[in-house]
Each structure stands twice: as structure tokens, then as C-alpha cells.
């Protein structure tokens, strides 16, 4: 495990300027995706609106069978 950690540590430490710039882009991208988009714009509809799987399945059955009576 230590060797594996050192592999990453040395790799990042000795990275070129271009490499560091690339990693900066990656971190910004992941931040936008997980801490902006996911948190504020992409709530899980069923998890947010219902508490149990029973409520979720009832809602889906309702949606599938009621929409076009």
C-alpha cells in the first residue's frame, strides 16, 4: 500500500506544468458536476419526494395506470 501511495505521490509531485493544468481542469469539472449540478439541479425525484419504496412503487403504479384512463 505504501509503495502504491508513493507511486501516486511522486507522480503528482513531479508532474509537468501541462499535467498540473490538466488536473486543475479535472478538479474544477468534478466540483461543478458533484457540488453544483448534482446538489442543486439534479435531486433524485423519487428519493426527494417519497420516504419509502412502498410509496415510490405506489406512485409509479399510479402514474402508469392513471395517466390515460
Amino acid at each position: 500500500m505504501r509503495n502504491f501511495f508513493l507511486l501516486y505521490y511522486d507522480g503528482f509531485k513531479n508532474m509537468t506544468k501541462d499535467g498540473k493544468r490538466l488536473w486543475f481542469i479535472i478538479i474544477i469539472k468534478l466540483f461543478i458536476m458533484f457540488f453544483v449540478l448534482k446538489l442543486f439541479f439534479f435531486p433524485n425525484f423519487l428519493k426527494t419526494n417519497f420516504n419509502t419504496d412502498k410509496e415510490r412503487s405506489d406512485f409509479i403504479l399510479e402514474t402508469l395506470t392513471q395517466k390515460h384512463k
Binding site: L7, T16, L22, N44, L64
Partner: protein
């Protein structure tokens, strides 16, 4: 239908298409270039020639840029499933859980572990261990694709499951049936080998640019030799898997095949339209000619679809209205059955709530009798089952045409390399360079045929697109559509700029990213 917000469905589809298209700009190069790098490194380890090492490190640098910018762009599709497509997500949850979990644990772990050795391990691990790591990165990337394509294959041909009316979910009966679903197998082979073609064209195009600039001649020629050989083998295999896909589609998605061909009236000994134009005025219930012009190969569609020159290939009319003599039940009849299934499901739910076991049993029996047509109960009109003909018809022809062009290009390149004349053929070098975007175009069109061609279904014969969405505002989806558009465009511009910069630096100009 008045309860369905068409604008929400359209915006949700547009957003999913946008993110999938952008995601697919990154994936094919990762899938193919990883194998090419492993081959380059194998050449180095076997020959000891330092130039192969230089070649390996150079392409690894470009692979690193593409991998880094593209990584996790696919996760956005999963965000969309949960927010925009909750009905769909609920219905498929049990089926997708296993393949996606394996993808996350096994393939991604393999890929991300050994990619560190690949980039940071030079001079720290043995040559053979480094080479093994490069191969494992390639295998890991492709295994990731396998599980995603297994999930997609299931949507096109849902097997190994049953619908549980108590939970409203499709539950997996056989993991192996899902994994070895013929649609998934063909889809995986067709998708990864076509991605190898995209990556080969990328290597060839960049190398051609060096030859045009009279730089890195030896590196470029060696790269072209490996990429053209790999590309030719992959393009030929892609053609073979395309042929086997046609047989699977003919069996489980006959409407998609009819749409691809613009075939309205089924026939024995059906011909394959090689070049043609569909008639925009043609509708299923008018007598217009389906084509403005066409050049067909007689009997070829029957051979492709059923393996026999005189086999019957159903057209759109046969599939909509049915064809008794060929034993085809039409969509019109299946809608009637589907409505009975939906109604029985509703009665089952009500009886359960009212604690009426007799009624519950009766409704369940009726539901089980008609459940194979459940999805058709969500259609209001049989014509809704017809996908957009012109879009899939032209996309398919451009994709296949480009496939043949790539085979010819790879073969010509190999011939001229053998004759040692390639760097003198400037027109060919330009063609090689400008073939890079054609590879991406062909790959994207393949997805377009697969996904637009299966409309109106998100899960074939089980769930329609209209019934797959969440009950959210379309304004919210529009907002995130434009946010994604901006984010992905920026990422794509960043990738192209960094790649161009690295290419201009050349094999000598940089170390690992």
C-alpha cells in the same frame, strides 16, 4: 395523453441526447487508443527499440488528456436518470443494479489502479509489469463499456426479467440471460470495434499531419503502420458484427429495421437500399412511393435479416396493422391487449388496497395473460410506434458508407506503406488528417440509428418514452440543458486545445502529463 407534458419529454430527450453525444466524443478514443498504446509498448518490450518507447509515451500523453477531460462525463447521464427519468429508473432499477455495480467495482477499479502505474510507473516497476498494466488499463476500459452496453442491450431487448406488479419494477430472473443477451453481445462487439476504428483514424490523422510537416517521419510511419493494421482488422470486424446485429434487430426490433430501410410494405426477397432518398410525403396510410429514388441490391435485406434470400421481411404497415399470412400481430391489436393489461394492473392495485383477495387474484390472472403487451397500453395511436424514418434511414447509410470508406482507406495506407510511398502522397495525407472527424461522425451516427430507431420505446415493448419521465417542470430541464451545453462545450474546447498543443510539441517535446 393530456397529462403528459410533451415539452418536458422533448427537453428531457434533448438533454439526454446532448450529454450522451458529448460523452461519446471522449469514450471511443479511450477504448481504442488504450489498446493501441498497449500494442506500441509490446513492440518496445519485444524489440528493445527505444523509438517504440518514444511512440508509446507520446500517444500515452494524448490518451491521458482525453481520459482526464472525459472522465466521469458519463455520470451526468446517471444524474439525469434520477431527476428527469424517474419512472424509467424505477422500472429498470433491479436490472441495471448488477451490471452497473460490477462496472463501478471491477472495471473502474482495474482501470484507475493500473492507469497510475501506466503514467507514473516508468522506471519504478519492471518493463513487463508496466506492460501488463497498460494492457489491464485497455481491458479495464473496455470492460467498463461492456457493462454499460449490457444495460443498453437489455433496453433494446429486455430478457431475463419479469415485471412485479407489487413493486412496479422489472426484476432480474437470470443474470446470465442479461449478460449474454444477443443484443448486448452484438452491441458490445460492434461498439468497441468501431471505437478502435475511431482511435486508429485519430493516430493515422495526427501522424499524417507530421508527415505533411516533414517532422517525426519515423515515429509517424511506425504509428500509421500499427494503427492502419489495427484499424483495418477492427473495421472488418465491425462490418461482421453489424451484419449479426441486423439479424438480432430483425428478430427483436423489426420496426427499427423497417425504419432503417424505409420499408412500408413487407415482402419476400426484400432488397437492401444502397443509395436512395426517402419521400417526405410518404405516410403509412397514403399510396405515395416510399422513395424518391433508390438503388437496391436484390434479396440482400432478406439475407441480412433472416439469412435466406427469399425470407419475408415485414414492413411498417405489416407491423402496424398485422399480417395474418406471416403470423404478425399488429401494433393496433397489441394496443388493445396492452390497455387490458394496464387496466388489470390498476384493478389489482385497487383490490390490494381494499383488501379484496378474490378481485386481486382475478386481476392478476388477467394481467399475466396480457402483460407481454403491457407497454403497448401506453400508446394512444398505433402510428406512435413508427420511429422517425428519414433520420434513421440517412444516418444508417452515412454510417455504413463511412465504414466501407475506412476499410478502403486503411487498405490503401498499408499498401502505400509497403511500397514506401506514403509520404509523397500529399492528397492522401490530407485525406488521412480530415478522416479524424469522419470517424467520430460515423460513431455518433451509429448511436443515433440505435436510439432514435427504437423510438417510441425506452424499454422495447415495455415502457414508452412518454411514460418514462418524472413529473418535474420542463423549465428546470431547459435550464440544465443549457448549463450542460456550456460545460461540455468548454470541456471539448479545452480538450482540443490541449491535444493540439501536445501534438505540436511532438514526441520529443514533453514528458508525461
Amino acid at each position: 395523453m393530456e397529462h403528459i407534458d410533451v415539452s418536458l419529454v422533448d427537453w428531457s430527450r434533448a438533454q439526454f441526447a446532448l450529454t450522451a453525444i458529448y460523452h461519446w466524443f471522449f469514450v471511443p478514443l479511450t477504448l481504442g487508443l488504450s489498446f493501441l498504446i498497449a500494442i506500441f509498448e509490446t513492440m518496445y518490450v519485444r524489440s528493445g527499440d527505444e523509438e517504440w518507447l518514444k511512440i508509446t509515451k507520446f500517444w500515452m500523453r494524448l490518451f491521458g488528456v482525453n481520459f482526464a477531460i472525459g472522465v466521469a462525463t458519463g455520470i451526468i447521464l446517471e444524474f439525469e436518470f434520477g431527476t428527469n427519468w424517474s419512472n424509467y429508473s424505477w422500472l429498470v432499477g433491479d436490472i441495471f443494479g448488477a451490471p452497473l455495480a460490477i462496472e463501478g467495482i471491477l472495471a473502474f477499479f482495474l482501470e484507475s489502479t493500473f492507469i497510475a502505474v501506466m503514467f507514473f510507473g516508468w522506471n519504478k516497476v519492471s518493463k513487463n509489469f508496466h506492460l501488463t498494466s497498460s494492457w489491464l488499463v485497455a481491458i479495464g476500459s473496455n470492460l467498463s463499456a461492456l457493462w454499460i452496453l449490457v444495460a443498453n442491450g437489455w433496453m433494446q431487448n429486455p430478457v431475463g426479467m419479469h415485471f412485479n406488479p407489487d413493486t412496479a419494477r422489472n426484476e432480474m430472473l437470470s443474470f446470465w440471460a442479461v449478460l449474454f443477451n444477443p443484443m448486448a453481445v452484438h452491441k458490445f462487439l460492434h461498439t468497441v470495434t468501431s471505437s478502435y476504428v475511431v482511435a486508429s483514424l485519430f493516430v493515422i490523422g495526427v501522424s499524417a499531419w507530421y508527415l505533411l510537416k516533414k517532422r517525426e517521419i519515423s515515429v509517424a510511419k511506425k504509428s500509421i503502420l500499427v494503427a492502419a493494421t489495427f484499424g483495418l482488422a477492427s473495421a472488418l470486424f465491425t462490418g461482421l458484427t453489424g451484419d449479426s446485429s441486423a439479424k438480432t434487430i430483425a428478430k427483436s426490433q423489426p420496426m427499427k429495421l423497417a425504419a432503417i430501410e424505409g420499408l412500408y410494405n413487407g415482402t419476400h426477397g426484400a432488397g437492401l437500399v444502397v443509395v436512395g432518398m426517402v419521400n417526405p410525403s410518404k405516410e403509412i396510410d397514403n399510396n405515395e412511393n416510399p422513395y424518391l429514388f433508390q438503388i437496391p441490391i436484390p434479396n440482400m435485406l432478406s439475407i441480412m435479416a433472416k439469412g435466406k434470400p427469399d425470407a419475408f421481411v415485414p414492413g411498417i404497415s405489416d407491423l402496424i396493422y398485422g399480417n395474418n399470412s406471416e403470423g404478425i400481430i399488429g401494433v393496433e391489436s397489441r394496443i388493445v391487449n396492452g390497455k387490458i393489461a394496464v387496466s388489470a394492473l390498476r384493478d389489482y392495485k385497487t383490490a390490494k388496497k381494499e383488501n379484496n383477495p378474490e378481485k386481486q387474484q382475478e386481476s392478476l390472472q388477467l394481467f399475466n395473460k396480457y402483460k407481454s403487451d403491457l407497454g403497448y397500453g401506453f400508446l394512444e395511436n398505433a402510428k406512435e410506434a413508427i420511429p422517425p424514418i428519414a433520420l434513421v434511414f440517412y444516418s444508417f447509410r452515412v454510417m455504413v458508407g463511412l465504414g466501407f470508406y475506412f476499410i478502403a482507406l486503411f487498405a490503401l495506407i498499408l499498401y502505400l506503406l509497403y511500397k514506401n510511398k506514403i509520404e509523397n502522397k500529399k492528397w492522401l495525407l490530407h485525406l488521412m488528417l480530415w478522416s479524424i472527424p469522419l470517424g467520430y461522425l460515423s460513431s455518433q451516427l451509429g448511436w443515433l440509428v440505435a436510439e432514435v430507431g427504437r423510438q417510441p420505446w425506452t424499454i422495447q415493448d415495455v415502457l414508452t418514452t412518454n411514460f418514462s419521465t418524472s413529473q418535474i417542470s420542463s423549465g428546470m430541464v431547459q435550464t440544465t440543458f443549457f448549463m450542460f451545453f456550456a460545460l461540455f462545450t468548454l470541456l471539448l474546447i479545452a480538450e482540443i486545445r490541449i491535444l493540439v498543443k501536445q501534438i505540436k510539441k511532438g514526441p520529443e517535446g514533453g514528458s508525461n502529463v
